[in-house]
């Protein structure tokens, strides 16, 4: 028995069983097991951040050397574009003033007016096809409190859907990207009364950078090139966030039409993102007090 307890293979087996049990327990809602790794996070995060910054600086330095001529040409083109845009801006300023007047008069709401937008930077990305969540540098300390069962949309700088926040810690958040096989969002064609369906991540399509579109009504005609936005069904995502364009449509089974969608956001190229958090409505308490 003593020999068995001292055997390295017996120790390894016990450790593997304990780790497997911890992995399964971490899947439970509000599992405390995940907190065990918190000290590693506080030690590892600054080191990783240092390496990332050093890599970015080197990359920028190299780009500054190699892109000199291209930058000069681009600069000339941008100067011309700025002149055009200045002209357009003066035209639009008047239109904007009129819009504000009409907005007040007709009680028009901005698309995302009920949401607060937080900016965050991507700290780390996937390490392989299965370890594929993304870390952001914004957490509960920045006001991103996530209740069990809820999720916050994450958008890129052009306001396209990137994924959703699924876990937060004091200083960090974890994002489930759009291409992950666990991701699902209700979508619709970007038109008035556009048809709704589900946009899902799929293990088969992930490597091509595509999502799967299912639950398509047989009467609806989807065509490649159509823009798809969030439909707002389900309540997690507001209506109107651009997701991507339809790439292919499979009509071979009329009872189960599917399509593939190419997302607008290129997660590999993103550095900064925005988290959308709905404003907490405090009117309910006030109404109750008034009634009392």
């Amino acid at each position: 028995m003593k020999k068995l307890l001292k055997s390295k293979w017996f120790i390894a087996l016990v450790v593997l069983l304990v780790l497997a049990a911890c992995a399964v327990l971490s899947l439970l809602p509000n599992s405390p097991v995940r907190k065990i790794l918190k000290p590693v996070q506080s030690v590892g995060a600054p080191a990783q951040s240092f390496v990332k910054n050093a890599g970015d600086t080197l990359s920028d330095f190299w780009a500054a050397i190699t892109d000199g001529i291209a930058i000069r040409e681009e600069n000339e083109a941008l100067k011309e574009e700025i002149a055009d845009l200045r002209y357009q801006l003066t035209q639009n300023e008047e239109a904007a003033l009129r819009y504000e007047e009409l907005k007040d008069a007709l009680h028009i709401k901005d698309t995302f007016s009920n949401y607060e937008i937080y900016g965050a930077s991507i700290l780390s990305r996937e390490s392989d096809e299965w370890f594929s969540t993304i870390r952001l540098n914004a957490g509960t300390a920045d006001g991103i409190e996530l209740a069990e069962g809820s999720a916050y949309p994450v958008l890129d700088v052009e306001m396209n859907l990137v994924g959703r926040v699924i876990e937060t810690s004091d200083t960090e958040s974890r994002v489930l990207p759009l291409l992950h096989e666990g991701f699902a969002v209700a979508g619709k064609v970007n038109a008035v009364n556009g048809a709704t369906f589900m946009v899902l991540g799929d293990a088969e399509l992930k490597r091509q950078g595509l999502c799967l579109v299912t639950d398509i009504d047989p009467d609806v005609r989807l065509e490649p090139g159509m823009e798809i936005v969030t439909s707002g069904d389900g309540g997690l995502f507001p209506e109107g966030i651009p997701i991507g364009v339809i790439e292919t449509v499979d009509n071979s089974n009329p009872l189960e039409i599917t399509a593939t969608l190419r997302p607008y956001s290129q997660i590999g190229k993103l550095e900064d993102v925005f988290i959308m958090i709905p404003y907490v409505e405090e009117s309910t308490d006030e109404t109750t007090q008034v009634t009392n």
Binding site: K8, A12, V15, L16, L19, A20, C22, A23, S26, L27, P29, S31, V33, R34, I36, L37, V40, Q41, G44, A45, A47, Q48, F50, V51, K52, G55, S124, R125, E126, S127, D128, E129, W130, F131, S132, T133, I134, R135, G149, I166, E167, R174, L176, H180, E181, G182, F183, L200, G201, D202, A203, E204, K206, R207, Q208, L212, G268, K269
Partner: protein, 211 residues
């Protein structure tokens, strides 16, 4: 005047060198995965480093480096899994489990018979990558059947051509510079290499920090 003995110096060297490599490799892998990717797969630097640590430096090195790298992997890019209730949750300890297992498999992969020779270490990387991927497909298939998450499954063609083969190729390529680093700028001095296996033979492989 010698302030520290030769053993202590070797131990300090081992800890410092392992710490530097683990931080650099894990940070690089999660910060710039697009630079080491091919056909949607990323060269798994942490994985290869753990296998090679086990293969060249023995059981305890493989196990401890595996646990540390696994914890970092779980912190930096944990997997999200569809639970039995349909909710997607971030998990913990899957990385530790995987890399610990990989470290001890690497340490046991014909290390004595092949005398930990350099070319055979690439075979160890290929074997462990193959085991990791196949075990992953089986686990995903079983779990997705339980949780009803069909979108997580791979077809055999996708698994073989677009997942396993590119990953094998990338890991083999990544193993070449890592082998050179471990052998020539590594945590253990391989000067007097002939004596090394005698030490392991006499004292067993429980000589972590003591080789």
């Amino acid at each position: 005047m010698r302030l520290v003995g030769i053993d202590t110096r070797a131990r300090i060297r081992k800890i410092v060198v392992y710490a530097i490599y683990i931080i650099l490799l894990s940070s690089f892998q999660v910060s710039f995965p697009d630079r080491i990717s091919f056909l949607g797969q990323t060269a798994d630097l942490m994985f290869v480093f753990v296998v090679l640590s086990g293969y060249f430096n023995g059981f305890w090195d493989g196990a401890i480096v595996g646990i540390v790298c696994g914890m970092i992997r779980d912190v930096f890019s944990p997997p999200a899994v569809v639970g039995l209730d349909g909710e997607v949750r971030v998990t913990a300890f899957i990385g530790v489990f995987t890399l610990f297992a990989v470290g001890i498999i690497g340490s046991a992969f014909f290390t004595r018979r092949m005398r930990r020779n350099i070319p055979f270490s690439i075979v160890a990387v290929i074997f462990t990558t193959f085991c990791y991927k196949v075990a992953g497909y089986i686990l995903i298939y079983g779990w997705s059947s339980l949780a009803g998450a069909e979108s997580s499954r791979y077809s055999l063609t996708t698994a073989l051509i677009y997942s396993l083969l590119p990953q094998l190729l990338l890991n083999v390529i990544a193993s070449i510079p890592l082998i050179l680093l471990i052998r020539f700028l590594g945590p253990v001095s391989f000067k007097g290499n002939g004596k090394k296996d005698e030490i392991i033979k006499d004292k067993g492989e429980g000589t972590w920090l003591g080789i």
